[in-house]
């Protein structure tokens, strides 16, 4: 399995395949953007794909016995195992094809994980997978910014100050999550110079996201994607606003859309325009629509804004590369 499937870029949603490979049968919340990520991901990848899913909402809510929504072969993997699942599957296929024990053909291997499974627990396995150049695989981290499946607990990918069942605001401590969100994709891009493709995405920008999946699978070797997925239950908003929140996350500059292809960093879509100087929307527009920030004071909002401003004004590349020591 030395070659990959050549998946052509889509020039708009209308070009996307009609065939659904993630169909009815799942039981995610109404307005669950992570479920949309699954649907777009596999639509982009196509039927000759094996999907591995680590524990989390996209396993538990998606794969009830006898009502699996997956048309493609699918297998559960442990919470911290997305990297290992992708690696083991790709290695198994490669060995069998190399020894002519299986028909030689390019089969996509995608392992997905949540932010808890990927940015926290499974980080070392993902990092290891990204160093194994000889295997073609994609690890997709769908980030709903909490351990959602276990009742919305704070993760290393949760935003500063967010209310979660492990970080509830109280009378003594209003802000219980005092950690800033990890820069997972940037860290992985910086740390794995030979991984050919690392990208962020958001289902609100569906064509962009699908094309990134296609590029990740076509380019070969181990690749990584990180999507930001509004989660009505964990973020506490009316499910009808999921799409809008994804757009707001990008337009306030909180979430940066980019790809790192063979070491070259490109900001995409609205993020590119913001980098050229278009005015960002105030983060308050994003924060105030979500119950998880309802306890924020104006000072909290101002602090949040200051961190985002710093990222856009002081970082070498906003959202990707932090400032160097010699920078102002």
């Amino acid at each position: 399995m030395t070659t990959t499937q050549q998946l052509v870029p889509l020039r708009g949603v209308k070009q996307s395949p009609l065939e659904e490979l993630f169909t009815s049968g799942h039981r995610t919340c109404q307005g669950c953007e992570s479920a949309l990520v699954m649907k777009l991901m596999i639509k982009a990848a196509g039927p000759r794909t094996i999907v591995l899913g680590s524990t989390g909402c996209m396993y538990v809510a998606n794969t009830t016995y006898y009502s699996t929504p997956w048309v493609v072969p699918w297998m559960h993997t442990q919470l911290g195992s997305s990297g290992s699942a992708a690696l083991g599957t790709a290695a198994g296929l490669k060995a069998l094809m190399r020894k002519a024990k299986m028909k030689d053909e390019p089969i996509n291997v995608i392992a997905f994980c949540g932010d808890g499974g990927g940015a926290d627990m499974g980080l070392s396995a993902i990092s290891a997978a990204l160093t194994h150049n000889e295997y073609n695989l994609l690890i997709l981290l769908y980030d709903n910014e909490s351990y959602a499946n276990t009742d919305i607990q704070v993760s290393g990918s949760s935003p500063w100050g967010a209310n979660s069942t492990f970080s509830p605001p109280g009378t003594l401590h209003r802000i219980m999550n005092r950690r800033w969100k990890k820069n997972t994709a940037g860290m992985l891009a910086a740390g794995h110079p030979q991984a050919r493709y690392i990208a962020t995405g958001c289902a609100s920008y569906a064509t962009d996201m699908m094309n990134k999946v296609r590029k990740a699978l076509t380019i070969g070797g181990p690749t990584f994607m990180h999507t930001l997925d509004p989660c009505p239950k964990g973020w506490d908003y009316d499910p009808m606003y999921s799409h809008e929140l994804g757009v707001l996350a990008v337009q306030t500059g909180i979430w940066v859309q980019y790809e790192v292809e063979d070491g070259k960093i490109t900001l995409n879509g609205p993020s590119k325009v913001l980098a050229r100087g278009k005015k960002r929307l105030p983060v308050e527009e994003y924060l105030k629509r979500q119950g998880r920030f309802a306890h924020f004071t104006p000072e909290d909002v101002a602090y949040f804004q200051s961190q985002i401003d710093e990222m856009w004004e002081k970082w070498w590349i906003p959202g990707v590369v932090p400032p160097g020591p010699q920078d102002p």
């Binding site: 794969t63 699918w74 297998m75 442990q78 699942a85 599957t89 060995a95």
Partner: protein
């Protein structure tokens, strides 16, 4: 084209360690995916594996993982797409992989692992102790204890054959006593590939293979609706493994001309009054002691348990009642367990509850942390057991042997 034909036995004799023997088995069994992570003493097998690969004597995907958890998860997933796999660990490394060890059974994925038995570290020990491998005894792992380097290579072939049998589809661990077996060289008959091919069919995952041509969903959420039925199926697979082991063993004996009894190795038990039971390399000092004591007229014998899972309950139940007393040696501990005894001791006592006559059974905890089980200490265990036989019982059913008080 060469017309040379080989004559004589299709085997060569080589001076190799238990670890090297298993590495050679990997090449002969044409293993597809191997994952490694360093921890003493099992890691020696991977040193040999990597050398075999480097020299072109073994072709496989070889991944040095970043942890034991990943090591076992990687081969688990490779097995799901139909690849023959091998991995291994020791002591705390095996425990680091524990989550993967557990789910592999539930997924019914065959896997062969070598455990280089090692103490669970703190306070600072990495000598031989059996608590590492024994920790998975309730989960669905087939567990074998090897006594010699020959056992290592032979058991490896048996392990793939039994684990990959569709009636079983369970992981199998070969336990090798750290240092005593992993690092000690012995003369080993290494078979020719043609013999191994005759014995070991290719792994065929059949309708459970994860592949786009067979788009199944593996391990969906079943919860209380189905989990009991599925656990029951895994239980049935473990029960069936008994017959599969017997069948495979018989064929092994037919093809390779060695192997003996599938579950137990008996040493001078025929007319014995008292016997000691144990697992692994302690067989060696015990056999020496049996011979020496017999020279002095003591009717003693030794029984080595080869497969701990499935447990040779029926065999022991049939065998043990005829002795006047039985001593069970554990190179492990089970703190707070009945009589505060070791794991094997408790299992043997449990199965003997069904015996028509209750033979005194005494437990010995010995050789922890790699401490040597010496000839004098085995003699001491025989003497304690003999005393119980003479007196028809004992007040002290559990002894720690060779401990400074």
């Amino acid at each position: 084209m060469t017309t040379e034909t080989r004559v004589g036995p299709l085997e060569t004799e080589e001076l190799i360690s238990g670890s090297e023997a298993i590495a050679r088995a990997c090449a002969l069994a044409d293993v597809d995916v191997i994952t490694a992570y360093p921890i003493r003493p099992y890691d020696t097998v991977m040193q040999f594996v990597s050398k075999l690969i480097a020299n072109g004597e073994l072709t496989c995907e070889y991944i040095v993982a970043e942890s034991e958890h990943s090591q076992f998860e990687i081969v688990k997933h490779a097995s799901a797409v139909g690849a023959r796999v091998f991995t291994g660990s020791s002591g705390v490394g095996w425990f680091y992989a524990f989550e993967a060890l557990a789910v592999t059974c539930g997924l019914r994925l065959p896997m062969v692992a070598m455990v280089g038995n090692r103490a669970l570290d703190d306070p600072g020990a990495f000598g031989c102790e059996h608590n590492d491998a024994l920790a998975v005894r309730d989960l669905g792992w087939l567990l074998n204890w090897a006594a010699t380097a020959q056992d290592c290579i032979d058991t490896a072939f048996l392990a793939w054959r039994v684990a990959e049998d569709p009636r079983v589809f369970l992981p199998c661990a070969i336990s090798t006593d750290g240092a005593f077996l992993t690092h000690s060289q012995q003369i080993v008959k290494v078979p020719d590939r043609s013999l191994v091919d005759k014995f070991l069919p290719p792994y065929d995952r059949g309708k459970f293979q994860l592949h786009p041509d067979n788009p199944i969903t593996i391990a969906p959420q079943v919860n209380e609706d189905w989990l009991m039925e599925i656990r029951r199926q895994t239980d049935a697979a473990m029960r069936r493994a008994r017959d599969v082991i017997i069948e495979a063993h018989q064929e092994f004996v037919d093809i390779f001309g060695r192997g003996g009894d599938p579950f137990l190795e008996e040493y001078m038990t025929d007319d014995a009054d008292v016997v000691l039971i144990g697992m692994g390399t302690l067989a060696l000092p015990l056999k020496v002691t049996v011979r020496r004591m017999r020279e002095k007229g003591h009717k003693v014998g030794f029984i080595r348990v080869k497969w701990f899972r499935p447990f040779p309950g029926p065999e022991l139940l049939e065998l043990l009642p005829r002795f006047k007393a039985v001593g069970v040696i554990d190179r492990d501990y089970s703190l707070g367990s009945p009589l505060n005894g070791g794991v094997l001791f408790n299992e043997v006592r449990s199965i003997m509850y069904s015996a028509p006559e209750r033979v005194p059974i005494i437990g010995f905890v010995a050789g922890l942390g790699g401490r040597e089980i010496t000839i004098p200490s085995t003699r001491q265990m025989f003497e304690i057991t003999q005393k119980a036989a003479d007196e028809g019982g004992t007040d002290q059913e559990l002894h720690w042997i060779g401990v400074r008080e």
